[in-house]
Symmetry: C5
Subunit: 263 residues, 5 copies
Amino acid sequence: MLTIGGIALIFVAMVVSTIMDGNSFGPLIGPSSMVMVLFGAIGAGITSFEISDLSAMPKTLIKAMTGKPANGDGIVNTMMKMAEIARREGVLALEEKLKDIEEPFLKEGLQLVVDGMDTENARSILEVQMESIDGRHQTQISLWKAIGGYCPALGMMGTLVGLINMLGNLSDPEQLGIGMSLALLTTLYGVLFSNALFIPIGNRLDTLNNAEMAVMTLIIDGVLAIQAGASPRMLVERLESYLNPSQRIGHQARAKGGTAEAA
Amino acid sequence: MLTIGGIALIFVAMVVSTIMDGNSFGPLIGPSSMVMVLFGAIGAGITSFEISDLSAMPKTLIKAMTGKPANGDGIVNTMMKMAEIARREGVLALEEKLKDIEEPFLKEGLQLVVDGMDTENARSILEVQMESIDGRHQTQISLWKAIGGYCPALGMMGTLVGLINMLGNLSDPEQLGIGMSLALLTTLYGVLFSNALFIPIGNRLDTLNNAEMAVMTLIIDGVLAIQAGASPRMLVERLESYLNPSQRIGHQARAKGGTAEAA
Amino acid sequence: MLTIGGIALIFVAMVVSTIMDGNSFGPLIGPSSMVMVLFGAIGAGITSFEISDLSAMPKTLIKAMTGKPANGDGIVNTMMKMAEIARREGVLALEEKLKDIEEPFLKEGLQLVVDGMDTENARSILEVQMESIDGRHQTQISLWKAIGGYCPALGMMGTLVGLINMLGNLSDPEQLGIGMSLALLTTLYGVLFSNALFIPIGNRLDTLNNAEMAVMTLIIDGVLAIQAGASPRMLVERLESYLNPSQRIGHQARAKGGTAEAA
Amino acid sequence: MLTIGGIALIFVAMVVSTIMDGNSFGPLIGPSSMVMVLFGAIGAGITSFEISDLSAMPKTLIKAMTGKPANGDGIVNTMMKMAEIARREGVLALEEKLKDIEEPFLKEGLQLVVDGMDTENARSILEVQMESIDGRHQTQISLWKAIGGYCPALGMMGTLVGLINMLGNLSDPEQLGIGMSLALLTTLYGVLFSNALFIPIGNRLDTLNNAEMAVMTLIIDGVLAIQAGASPRMLVERLESYLNPSQRIGHQARAKGGTAEAA
Amino acid sequence: MLTIGGIALIFVAMVVSTIMDGNSFGPLIGPSSMVMVLFGAIGAGITSFEISDLSAMPKTLIKAMTGKPANGDGIVNTMMKMAEIARREGVLALEEKLKDIEEPFLKEGLQLVVDGMDTENARSILEVQMESIDGRHQTQISLWKAIGGYCPALGMMGTLVGLINMLGNLSDPEQLGIGMSLALLTTLYGVLFSNALFIPIGNRLDTLNNAEMAVMTLIIDGVLAIQAGASPRMLVERLESYLNPSQRIGHQARAKGGTAEAA
């Protein structure tokens, strides 16, 4: 929601400032410029990337629009409970709790613990998976940013085509202005698509991925600690280090629980 | 195929938007601008790189046009079968299966296992080879990108040559427009060659290389696991971590096979 | 204070040079340009980052304005005293001194020592926390720099909107100048907001974070040395390596104390 | 030779396209622009680098023009022979063969083996030397690239000086064109020197250095394997991993020799 | 000295080319442009960095002007002598020689050896100190480069202020040229200060720091070898690897001494 709001705000700023300056919107509408920049950008994208990555763009766009960063605090809570169970009843007792866990990476990590996989292999499988997910996200991020990087050049190409035509036919000075106006429009569309769509979306996907990777690092650390039989109090102390103090919402409750457990 | 389609789409976008704006194509055809940008770029390429690397450009262009990323899922299948054979009949039994394997890096890795090379040396040989292949690809990638980086500067040089001539002879204003139109054409060609050919091809080679390196990492990991006598089920679980979930096409079949083997 | 002074100096330089050139300020005031650049930048920021990170911007702005780098020399003094106590009376004796320590990271580190946590875990918890703080700061730094990066493009968009309108209506040459003047104003605002506000603030946050991370590295090193029972003289020698010679204000006093302790 | 040909090709492209456009060369000759860009670049180079590094530029220019990448295949051949001798007659027997080896780094590495230096120290000395050579090459590479980076700015400065003078004296429109033509010439020279001389030479030195470092890595690996008493067949298999398949010219011959030795 | 000469050469190139083109210097003198660029750059510097770092700029400027890279060859000589003494008379005998050593880092390293500090701690203290010195130098380098990066933007701001004023008042075409001339002057000053002062000085500090760090690495390696009781011949062989062959001035003399010692 907020992401759409951000893009909308850029357009609102443009509309309001255009009205304030007494400019009109008619000359700003250019289907030909849109064709040049948008189809050109898609063409450059098809050339540069896999078609399977490009066809994932609508899905990542929706993710960028609606995605929320993982709830690190909730995961610390879940892991504390799992650590308590593992300590009291053994790691096999975790199996029936797994179906209540929503976060798939945590679920998979604990499944490995339940399966009795050794620490070395469990760490390696989880890390490879995390890197693999990171790699896929990085591809999408670089896709949006790369297309955002092609847009201004495509806009400039359109403007040059217009200028070259206009300059070859300088007889009517009135036409000169209109031709140049039309030519510059493609540059505007190139800068606009780049800075109000592709690059901000790429940056957002980057922001979301960073948050996701941070939570995955926390999960790997916690899962291996549970396997090693860490006390819930120790585990919480360790895992809270990963969280921003403002994110440690359940800190009070956990501290109490931890004390109870320690007693 | 798709790569050619991508480049074609950029040109289609340019043609359509030129027609929509009522511009003509005559002034956009400039053999002199083509000579300046294309031969200049080749010259800068010859200066910057080895002639052997440059002469490999047509081959890499074809690869960029037709290359498909390695089939990670098929390789996991093959490796599972190899692990089953190695477990049942010993690693020497792999020898006669090697001729059926298409992927040369996997073939070579398993050959080392059959030859009884120790883990340390096998890993080191495979990693050196992977780095060596990566290095060769990086040279080609940087070649395409570097030439793509020279093009706009060469276009600007051509434009400056035209402008300097035109400005020294301002008597005929009609000629002024035509001279400037011709001068700007070289800039257009520089931006066009850079953004619709060299840089997208460089990016595509990068995309293909990343996929190839990911599969090679998977192969090295799997080959060493087979040598260490890993169970097929374990091996599959490990190697599937490298794959995008959507790539794990044979997951169901393998899981069944794995269970059968475990039973 | 000095940070505000720095930004003020840029504006003073602009005002003075405008007066010296006999230019007037009237044409430089453009509410529409401000709307375009500032709201556009906020929109691009909302799209690219978490709303929670954006809402922390006023707080980080105040920090950038008033923040002072941590006092490394004072911390070395405190740690020397703590090392003396730990050596004479044992690490448990540090507990009652903790309440006098202001630096929270040092406090937390010594608390872990008092709690008897083993070196491995203590180092890991402190390092995770340091990385976590660094990560949060990096997000803020990249936020300010990213918005500073969007501003010139937004300014250029506003200028293009103005130019396109102006060129479509070339009948009145007097209006032409005024239209172009107004159009260029948005570019000025884009460059100004970028180079006199967002990017310098981002750089300052970077400077402050570097200093803070250096002190944290010193603290981790020192806390683990105290836990390992290092002599105060040794500790000081070690920790002073982290300080700029000009920062080693208490060196003389410490050296004397160190000698006394060694005797 | 080819490097000179590459630079020549850029100039040929410029000359041909200038003739094709019917432009003349007279206005393109500007001794003042040459003074500005070339001496300015030398000045910026003197300020930025050591005079000893600058005075090595003619030597590196000749190297860039004539240098050929090391013959990795020949070195593998030599090392195979050395490994055979070392195995048959002991490492001391290598001493009298050293004088036939041309590659100085290989000579030095084998000398260390003959001198009986332990693996640890031999590796460390060879690696320090390799890094030291790499460092010196990097300085030259960054020197050429840095000067190539200053050129366009110096060209722009010259153009601004010309424009500022021209604009202050607008009475004669004929002069205006000539003044602007002359002013733009410095920009042309700045772009030309940067993109047709300094940056391509810097890139070529980079290409040569990469090839040289790859061969040095191969040599270090091989020398230590000879010291460790590796079999010639093993050594060749290992070292060929470093070579591009197209570079493994002597592969057939070596494989035969290797088999002979293994028999 | 040479650094000043380099900056002077840039100005000489500009003066000579201005005279060659028959341009005059009057329009190039602009106190207002100087105020805009220089004070603006100082303001941006104050905002971005610590005041203590900024106030060290005159000192680093003098260092950039007069600094010479450390004499690696002389240090190898000194260390060889120290190794001989340490071998013959024990490390304690080094104490009285320390006062003759000029290089402070070498003095400090040998002092640690004399004090009997263990290798681990000595290495760690020396490395922390080296990193700490490197960090301080990097701050100064980034300070000069960052200010050099702000200058062109500040120049552009000044030019935009002038253009906006000029375009709002197009009645007198004669004034138009003079206004634009004055406006462009600030751009010239921005590019000039950036490319003829701040960035070259930043690059020079970088060059000096690289040389200093290389010598410090050599010193740490040598000091630890002396502590470990390395033979002078071995030490020299090791340390000479760090030096450029052209720097190994004392190689002949040392080789003779080394042989004498070995005998």
